[in-house]
């Protein structure tokens, strides 16, 4: 028999409406006169700061006092159709406007079809959601790159592409993969819908200072091993909760050697390690990528910006709360075998045995994961037959990903019975790929060449696995049902995805180089 829960609401609401009016403001004003807590006895040797601390200090609108978090100013707010409708309703309910439409940009990516854009939506509910975003953007004066715009694309692909993502900025989006923008040395945070509403209304966010987690990757990657393998390796070491409460700062010669798109791949999956953000200090590679883009500073503004950006990297002696270091030269192509992104290993390994784990809950988790994936302890993962290959998502859908994939696929053909979907990250990536003839390489090999969007990474738009199917996916999540109810996902790099597409089995890309 079930009893109803009882709630104690106390002496109802004497504080409602009074909280945070004059009294609270007064205490904040007082605190503003207090000396900064971090003042150093020797003014000539300021305390060394991490890049995150520098960005943070530069964006505090009001310091948190009396137990409150800091109010942090936001430079850029990216909006999409899925996590925003209820936030706009919230604004309407309170009669609020969007405080900074010019620091806000919307696009459609999650629920849109990746088939012919001239056709009507097959999914009425998705169509209603996209239409609602169009209405909201029109009503609140927010620029929108909607269906048919040459700048439409996955929100984390178009920000950098347009030059909106710049070093030292605070960037938010109602999407956990916002950390992607950290590749530029920006503090980029994934937020929920209530926070989307907060940022729309105030261009600020209530935030507590995160801890810092240094991830140092030195050495050089071997051929066939990529940025995706670096991040999958990190996740396999620290687990899906290993970075909770922290921001990853990625550094070391192997990170420096990556192009901006590789760095985006690494930062993108920070949330899969539990970190709400992850970043790479900006350097010449960053500046070269940003220069000349639509929204990049130009002329004298460029010099001013560059001067500011060069001061961003963490100071010598800056303190990290945790750190991990490994050598890129030790890495081989990685793949996941389980049902979260931390359940990954070198593609040459055998499926782990749950019975060898001493912790009962971990043992149960691994057992459940292997049951879902229908994999047996001790079996090799290489050679596992697959049904679908997905090349796309905010992790691996940029032009360099497509070039790498096409280079391996050229002159080869997709194995019989395997469906291969190539989904460019943005309409601009698609245009550029077609200009380079990459679309022909994919089509000639038997792959589908589709319109830009999130597609089978999140499987909201009809691009999905059937129950029981296996995919090799360049996306970021292998959770149960993530790519379609009952579908099973092996996360891997674009090269591993192509090698597997060609053979029809999970394959080591180094054999096809």
């Amino acid at each position: 028999m079930s009893r109803q829960p009882s709630f104690d609401s106390g002496s109802a609401g004497s504080l409602i409406g009074l909280a945070y009016s004059g009294a609270e403001m007064h205490s904040l004003d007082e605190s503003a006169r207090v000396e900064p807590p971090m003042s150093d006895p020797n003014p000539n040797s300021p305390r060394p700061r991490t890049i995150v601390e520098k960005i943070w200090d530069d964006h505090v609108v009001a310091p948190g006092t009396d137990g409150a978090p800091d109010v942090l100013g936001i430079d850029l707010h990216l909006v999409h159709e899925v996590t925003s409708p209820q936030a706009f309703d919230g604004l309407r309910d309170r009669g609020l406007k969007v405080r900074r439409p010019g620091q806000t940009l919307a696009t459609v990516d999650h629920s849109i079809p990746t088939t012919d854009r001239s056709l009507p939506f097959a999914d009425e509910i998705a169509f209603a959601q996209v239409s609602r975003l169009e209405q909201n953007c029109a009503e609140f004066g927010i620029p929108l790159h909607g269906m048919g715009s040459p700048h439409q694309g996955i929100v984390h692909v178009i920000g950098p592409e347009l030059g909106l993502t710049q070093p030292g900025m605070t960037i938010v989006c109602g999407d956990s993969h916002t950390a992607t923008h950290g590749a530029f040395g920006a503090l980029a945070i994934g937020i929920g819908t209530t926070e989307v509403e907060h940022v729309l209304a105030t261009q600020t966010l209530l935030q507590r200072r995160p801890k810092s987690f240094e991830v140092r990757v030195d050495g050089a990657l071997h051929p066939g091993v990529t940025a995706k393998d670096i991040i999958l390796y990190l996740l396999s070491r620290i687990g899906v909760g290993g970075g909770t409460g922290h921001v990853f700062e990625y550094g070391g010669s192997a990170i420096r050697a990556l192009g901006m798109e590789g760095r985006m791949t690494v930062c993108n999956m920070s949330i899969e390690g539990g970190a709400r953000a992850g970043l790479v200090a900006p350097d010449e590679t960053t500046f070269e990528y940003v220069a000349g883009r639509t929204h990049a500073p130009a002329g004298a503004d460029w010099d001013v910006a560059l001067d500011r950006w060069r001061r961003l990297p963490s100071d010598e002696g800056a303190r990290h709360d945790r750190s991990i270091a490994f050598d890129a030269g030790d890495l081989v192509p990685m793949v996941t075998y389980g049902t979260n992104p931390g359940m990954g290993f070198p593609i040459t390994e055998r499926i782990p045995d749950p019975e060898r784990l001493t912790d009962a809950t971990q043992r149960d988790s691994l057992r459940a994961a292997l049951r879902y994936m229908d994999l047996n302890p001790g079996d090799a993962i290489l050679g596992k037959p697959i049904d679908v290959v997905f090349i796309g998502s905010c992790t691996n859908s940029r032009i360099s990903d497509l070039r790498e994939a096409a280079r391996m696929l050229r002159g080869r053909h997709v194995a019989d019975g395997v469906r291969v979907m190539v989904v460019p990250g943005s309409t601009e990536v698609k245009r550029q790929a077609e200009e380079e003839g990459l679309d022909s390489v994919f089509r000639d090999a038997g792959a589908e060449w589709r319109e830009a969007g999130c597609s089978m990474c999140i499987a909201m738009n009809g691009d999905q696995l059937s129950p029981g199917q296996y995919s090799v996916s360049t996306s970021n999540r292998n959770f149960e049902g993530r790519q379609g109810k009952g579908g099973r996902t092996f996360l891997a790099s674009p090269l591993t995805a192509v090698a597997s597409a060609v053979t029809g089995r999970l394959s080591d890309p180094r054999a096809l180089l």
């Binding site: 028999m1 079930s2 009893r3 109803q4 829960p5 009882s6 709630f7 104690d8 609401s9 106390g10 504080l15 409602i16 409406g17 945070y20 609270e24 403001m25 904040l28 609108v61 409150a68 109010v71 430079d75 850029l76 899925v82 996590t83 409708p85 309703d89 309910d93 309170r94 609020l96 010019g102 620091q103 806000t104 629920s111 999914d123 609602r132 710049q166 030292g168 900025m169 109602g174 999407d175 937020i191 929920g192 209530t194 926070e195 209304a201 209530l206 909760g241 909770t244 949330i271 539990g274 709400r276 929204h295 979260n340 931390g342 809950t361 988790s365 909201m460 999540r477 959770f479 049902g481």
Partner: protein, 208 residues
């Protein structure tokens, strides 16, 4: 002038428990992505844990905890470590609350889920791992036992009279106890916002 929508102040909840002692439950399980095409918050209770709750033919999965008749009306979920990892979808706490959950007790929570929950008045109650194990053993012996999650005292009270203290974000705690929300607090910072704007010209303009 803006009006802060009033919310019921919340101090404590006493209820039997929905046990889900599995680690790393992600928000894709709490509410699968195909339900995120909604433009409001209707129907989320039925979609909570949908893919675990229903079999392929649409019938309730008899092995899944929420389908046990005695679970109806329970307001406390006891979950394994790192609950709510993955996607930032706020639909996850919305769906839990729509079903009737007011507090989730675990040894840790994913950051975005924790923040989203607090902003909706769903309590993410993090207790030490050994205490979670103790609660788990109690539930195994007495599945219908009631716990009290007391926000004001910041403690979970067990039937044997013992209490487990928990840390919770002090600011969010005050907001939930008072029944106010955070947007009102932010909007009260108008002078600071203007001062900040004056010294921080926009880095980019999306309207340009």
């Amino acid at each position: 002038m803006t009006i802060t929508p009033p919310r019921e102040p919340f101090r404590s909840v006493t209820s039997a428990v929905v046990p889900m002692l599995r680690n790393d439950v992600d928000t894709d399980q709490i509410i699968p992505a195909r339900f995120l095409k909604t433009i409001n918050r209707a129907g989320l209770a039925e979609q909570l844990f949908c893919d675990w709750r229903y079999l392929a033919d649409g019938s309730p999965n008899p092995d899944f905890v929420l389908n046990r008749p005695e679970m109806a009306g329970r307001a406390i979920l006891v979950a394994g470590d790192n609950f709510g990892c993955g996607s930032s979808r706020e639909h996850a706490p919305w769906a839990l609350m729509a079903w009737g959950i007011r507090a989730v007790v675990s040894s840790s929570f994913a950051d975005i889920f924790r923040v989203n929950s607090l902003k909706n008045g769903l309590l993410p109650v993090a207790v030490p791992p050994e205490e979670l194990m103790r609660i788990g053993s109690i539930l195994e012996a007495e599945p219908d036992v009631e716990l009290t999650v007391d926000l004001e005292a910041s403690e979970v009270r067990l039937p044997d009279g013992s209490a487990i203290g928990f840390d919770i974000d002090a600011f969010a705690r005050r907001m939930i106890l008072d029944g106010t929300d955070e947007l009102g607090y932010l909007l009260a910072h108008q002078p600071q916002l203007e001062a900040y704007d004056a010294s921080h010209p926009p880095r980019v303009s999306t309207l340009a």
